[in-house]
Symmetry: C2
Subunit: 96 residues, 2 copies
DNA sequence: CTTGTATTTAGATATTTGCCTAAATATCAT
DNA sequence: ATGATATTTAGGCAAATATCTAAATACAAG
């Protein structure tokens, strides 16, 4: 599970900031955009990567699209990091 | 602490594989290189990023340079991930 | 069904990244 | 010092990434 996409997604500061925002609760794309200076189009691109990594989920609510954290994947990622430093348990395969 | 450099460093599969190798114990650049198909020059570049992120430490031993894991920074990174999903404790500042 | 608001997609550009080859540096052994 | 081995640095190129503007899509409201 998890893997390359998650780490790539986490590598960008803007995307980590988006995740931080979502800790406080779900927000629409527009609400999130209000916190950044880059265009909504650029943010939409970041949303896509986060979705691809399954770090966030979306739900349409009228004209808005509401983003929310997928905490389990974040937990998995943290676990993978910890696994990365345990004396090889049994060759964990992180789909490179 | 930790921050941007760590996440960037972890974003690459080759670098994560290097870290996995080092779980088993310190190894020289050459020993590590034996596990990869890319050139030693390319690996050296990856070593640099890992060092910059403080994920690995180096020690010269004769003509060899021995790399070892800096586990505390990995732990910090995992902790930052977990922090990323806790309901904002008090606005953690991850030097973007 | 036309207009307005929210969001995404498309296409272009600049920067960054990962890889290579060739050359440089460092240490060891003679 | 000379030559051999280990590693890094420099320079260049192709692919990936982050950003933008402009256009397209989705929904809601008249």
């Amino acid at each position: 599970m998890a893997g390359q996409h998650v780490f790539k997604a986490l590598a960008d500061p803007t995307r980590r900031d988006i995740l931080k925002l979502l800790r406080a609760g779900s927000q629409s794309a527009g609400d999130i955009a209000a916190h950044f200076t880059i265009t909504k189009a650029s943010l939409s691109h970041h949303f896509n990567l986060l979705k691809h990594a399954d770090l966030v989920r979306t739900e349409r609510r009228g004209q808005h699209i509401v983003y929310s954290l997928n905490t389990s994947v974040m937990e998995d990622a943290a676990a993978m990091l910890m696994a990365l430093l345990a004396p090889q348990p049994e060759e964990i395969s992180d789909d490179t």
